[in-house]
C-alpha cells in the first residue's frame, strides 16, 4: 500500500514535470559577444520578468528555455535592446508547439529504436523503414524532406543512448540510391562490425568513398542486389575501403587469421615486467619512496647519489599525433630546454659534457632547477608502467618507469639562467611566459641501482620529459571482463602457499637512520608477516630464476598469508594496489575485507588510508581485525 501510494505521488510529480517540460519554449539570444551568462540572465529576469532556464552558450549565441509561450512573447518584446555593447536579438526557436512536438518525435524514435534493437545479437535492424507502420503513421514518410531528416535524427538518438551496444546494422531494403543520406552511420557507430545494405539501388563507388578510413573494424558487408555489385572492380574497391573486411556478400575475401596477425602485435602490451617477484616488490618500494621525496623534498634523495653517480635529463619535444588521446599539442618546455641533454639535438661536445651532472652537489643543483612536481602513483596506478631487470655487472638492477606528473610550482632556483634570462629578454618578450607555463608532462625515467654498505645507491639516473599524452598500456574499462579472468593464472601465483615470497633482497634491508627513502615500516612488517611461512623454503629459490618468457603477467606481489582476496577481486588489482593492500593489512592488522574497504575508500593511497584508519580506530568492531 505504502509503496503504491509513494509511487503514485512520484508519478504525479513526474507527470507534472513532464507537462511543464512539454510547454517549454526554446529561445535563442544572438549578439551576445562579450557578455557573461550572468549578465544576460540578470537582465532578462529584471526587465522581461521571465526566467531563462537551462541556458548555455552555443557558439556565439545563448540558448535556453522559458516556461511557456506567453513568456516567450514577453521576452520577444525586448528584441533589439542594448546591453553592454550588444544589440540583443531574441528568437523563438521552431514554430508553434515545436518543442513538445520534437519531444514526442524523439520519444517515438527512441521507442522505435528499442523495438528494432536485439541486445543478444547487438544488432539494430533498420531494414525496410518505409514499411514500418509506426513510422508511417507518424508521418515520417509524408514528404521527402522529413524522410531525409529521419536518418540523421535516428543517429542522433542512438548517440544519446549509450546502453545500445551495436555491432551490426541492417539497412536492407530502404530504396537507397547512394549512401549520402546514411554517411553519419560512420560517426555514430565507428566500430561497427557487420553491415547489411542488401536490396537497395546503390550504383556508384563515389558515394561509398565517404566511408573510406571509417569503419576500421568492419568485418562483414552485405550488398547483394545492388547495381554496384556488378562492377568489375567491386571486390577490389570494397577491400580497399574496408581494411578489415573478411566477408563480402557471404564470401570469405580475407583470411581472418592472417588479417589478425598483420594488424596486431603478437602479444598484448603489459604494464609491468619484473624479472623476479623480489625485484617487483623492491622496485615498487623504491619508486614510491623516490617519487614521494622527489615531489616533496628532493634534498632527501641526495644520500642515494655518490660522487660517481650521474644524472641528466632531456626533452623529447616531438609532438604526438593529434589522434593520440589527451595528447598535449602545445607543450611548453621552458624550464627544461636550457639543460636538455638530448644528444640528437646537440652538436657541441662541450654542451654534452656540461649537461651531465656527476656527484651530489651538481645533481642537487640540477634537481633544484627542475619544476616542482606531483606524481600520481597512489591515486592513478594505471598511469604508470614499470620494467625491472637485474644487472649482473654491478650486482644491482635497473628500473624503468613510464608515466606522467603535474608541474606544481616553478623550480626552486632557475639555474643561473637569471643572468641568461635578462640577456635573452629582448629576444623573447611575450614568449617566455608561455614557454614557462606549468602543465602536465609525460616522462620516462631509468635508474641504475647498486647495493652499497647495506643500502643502495643510484649509479645512473636518466630522465626523459615529453609532451603529456594518455598512455598505451591502460586498457579502456569497457573491454569485456572475461579477458581479465581468463588471464588469472597469475593470481594463483599470488596465493601464498606456493612460497613465492622469498627472502627480502639485501638492498632494502637497510640499517639505522641513514635510510633516506624511509623504506621501513611496511617492508619490515612484510618480513615479519611472511618469513615464518618461508622458514622451510630455500632462500633465493626464485631470486635467481631466469626470465620467464611465457609469463606475460606482471611479477607477482607477495601477499601476507592472512590477506586472502577472492580471486576475481585480486585479478582486477594491479601490483601497486596489491602492494598497498598488503602493507595496510600488515600495518593495521585489519582482516582482508576491511583492509580492502579501507584501501578503496582512501583512493588506494597508503598514507590517507592509514590516517583514516587511525581516526576511526575506536569505531571498528572486533571482527574487523585478523582473528
Amino acid at each position: 500500500m505504502n509503496n503504491n501510494f509513494h509511487n503514485n505521488v512520484n508519478n504525479l510529480g513526474m507527470y507534472a514535470q513532464q507537462q511543464q517540460q512539454m510547454n517549454r519554449v526554446k529561445i535563442c539570444v544572438r549578439n551576445v559577444q562579450g557578455l557573461s551568462m550572468q549578465q544576460l540572465l540578470n537582465f532578462v529576469s529584471k526587465n522581461a520578468r521571465v526566467s531563462l532556464m537551462d541556458a548555455k552558450f552555443e557558439g556565439n549565441t545563448i540558448v535556453g528555455y522559458v516556461n511557456n509561450r506567453q513568456d516567450a512573447q514577453l521576452l520577444n518584446k525586448w528584441n533589439g535592446v542594448r546591453l553592454g555593447n550588444c544589440n540583443l536579438k531574441f528568437e523563438i526557436m521552431d514554430g508553434q508547439n515545436s518543442s513538445p512536438h520534437t519531444q514526442s518525435t524523439i520519444m517515438m524514435l527512441k521507442n522505435f529504436l528499442y523495438r528494432r534493437y536485439n541486445p543478444q545479437q547487438k544488432m539494430l535492424d533498420l531494414s525496410s523503414l518505409h514499411n514500418d507502420q509506426e513510422l508511417v503513421q507518424n508521418g515520417l514518410f509524408s514528404s521527402i524532406a522529413t524522410q531525409s531528416k529521419m536518418f540523421p535524427a535516428l543517429m542522433k538518438v542512438i548517440s544519446q543512448e549509450p546502453q545500445l551496444i551495436i555491432e551490426s546494422v541492417n539497412l536492407a531494403g530502404n530504396n537507397l540510391k547512394d549512401i549520402f543520406g546514411i554517411t553519419t552511420l560512420a560517426q555514430t557507430i565507428p566500430n561497427l562490425k557487420n553491415l547489411c545494405l542488401a536490396n537497395n539501388q546503390i550504383s556508384a563507388f563515389k558515394s561509398m568513398e565517404n566511408w573510406r578510413n571509417k569503419f576500421k573494424e568492419l568485418n562483414e558487408l552485405l550488398m547483394l542486389n545492388n547495381p554496384i555489385t556488378n562492377d568489375r572492380s567491386y571486390r577490389t574497391e570494397m577491400l580497399r575501403l574496408f581494411p578489415k573486411l573478411v566477408m563480402l556478400d557471404n564470401v570469405v575475401v580475407r583470411d581472418a587469421a592472417k588479417l589478425k596477425s598483420v594488424f596486431s602485435l603478437p602479444m598484448q602490451i603489459q604494464q609491468f615486467f619484473f624479472e623476479t617477484s623480489e625485484l617487483g616488490q623492491s622496485s615498487l618500494d623504491f619508486i614510491k619512496n623516490f617519487l614521494n621525496c622527489w615531489d616533496t623534498n628532493r634534498d632527501q634523495l641526495l644520500p642515494l647519489y655518490t660522487p660517481q653517480s650521474s644524472f641528466s635529463y632531456a626533452v623529447d619535444s616531438s609532438i604526438p599525433a593529434s589522434t593520440v588521446p589527451e595528447s598535449d599539442q602545445h607543450p611548453s618546455f621552458g624550464y627544461y630546454l636550457s639543460s636538455s641533454r638530448n644528444i640528437t639535438k646537440i652538436s657541441s661536445e662541450k654542451a654534452v659534457q656540461q649537461r651531465l651532472y656527476m656527484g651530489q652537489e651538481a645533481i642537487n643543483n640540477s634537481f633544484k632547477s627542475l619544476p616542482m612536481t606531483k606524481h600520481h602513483l597512489d591515486d592513478d596506478p594505471n598511469g604508470y608502467s614499470v620494467q625491472t631487470i637485474s644487472l649482473s655487472q654491478l650486482n644491482g638492477f635497473m628500473i624503468t618507469l613510464h608515466g606522467y606528473f603535474n608541474e606544481t610550482e616553478k623550480p626552486l632556483n632557475t639555474n643561473n639562467s637569471n643572468s641568461k634570462n635578462s640577456r635573452n629578454k629582448k629576444y623573447s618578450h611575450g614568449y617566455s611566459s608561455s614557454t614557462n607555463k606549468l602543465s602536465k608532462k609525460s616522462f620516462d625515467r631509468s635508474w641504475v641501482i647498486a647495493p652499497a654498505n647495506g643500502g643502495i645507491v643510484i649509479a645512473s639516473d636518466l630522465l626523459t620529459i615529453r609532451p603529456y599524452s594518455s598512455n598505451s598500456w591502460s586498457i579502456p574499462k569497457p573491454e569485456n571482463p572475461t579477458s581479465t579472468t581468463s588471464n588469472t593464472p597469475a593470481s594463483g601465483v599470488n596465493n601464498i602457499p606456493t612460497g613465492i615470497p622469498g627472502p627480502q633482497p639485501p638492498i632494502i634491508n637497510q640499517q639505522g637512520m641513514g635510510n633516506p627513502l624511509g623504506m621501513q615500516g611496511g617492508i619490515n612488517n612484510t618480513n615479519q608477516g611472511i618469513n615464518p611461512l618461508n622458514n622451510g623454503l630455500q632462500p633465493g629459490m626464485s631470486a635467481t630464476g631466469p626470465i620467464n618468457a611465457m609469463n606475460n603477467q606482471p611479477g607477482p606481489i607477495s601477499l601476507a598469508p592472512t590477506l586472502q582476496l577472492p580471486p576475481n577481486i585480486q585479478a582486477n588489482l594491479n601490483p601497486i594496489q596489491l602492494d598497498t593492500l598488503n602493507k595496510l593489512h600488515l600495518q593495521t592488522k585489519l582482516n582482508s575485507e576491511y583492509t580492502y574497504m579501507l584501501a578503496e575508500q582512501s583512493g588506494w593511497n597508503y598514507d590517507n588510508a592509514l590516517k583514516s584508519f587511525q581516526s576511526s580506530i575506536n569505531n571498528l568492531p572486533r571482527e574487523a581485525y585478523i582473528q
Binding site: L265, M267, A314, P320, Q353, S442, L462, I547, N548
Partner: protein, 172 residues
Amino acid sequence: MNSSHNFNIVVTFVKKIMAHLDEPDASKLNSFLNLFNQSSSKVIFNGTPFNQAMSFIELWSNSIVKTNHLLSLLDFHEIPGTNILVININGKVRFDESGRDKNGRDSIIPLNNTQPTQMNANMANRSIWGPYFGMSLQLVIDSAIFRNNTVGIINSFNYNLIYKPEDSLIKI
C-alpha cells in the same frame, strides 16, 4: 676516458639499431642478432620478456609488419667501475598499414580468375604508413663499443610503446 667522440659513436650505434628494426629483408637478420650478447642478453618488448635475442628477432621479423622508426631523443651514461653504459632513447614508430607483412603477403584470398595479380605486383613494395606511436627504449651495452667492437655488446634491450594513436589499424 676519452669521450670526445664517444657520443657520436653512441648516436651511430642507436641509428644502426633503428635501421635493423626497420629492415624487412630477412637475410639481414643475422647482423642484428650479432649485436646481442648471445649468452645473457635480456630483451623486453612491451613488457613481455624474451629468453633469447634470437626469439625476439624472429618474432619481430615474422609477426610484425614493416616499421619506420624516427629517433627523437638520445642520452646515455657510462657507469664507472663497470664496463657498461646505459642508453636512453625516445622516438616515434609507424607501422605499414597496407595489410601486407614484411614479405609482401596480404590476407586477401585470391580469386579464381587471376585478375588482380598485376595490381598486386605494382603495389607489393609500397608501404602505407599509419600514424606514429611513441616508443621508449633503454639499452645496456658493453663499453667495448668505444673500441669499435659491436659484436655481442647489447646486454639488455627494453623496448616499450608508450603512446598510441586512436586511428591506427594496429592493435597493441
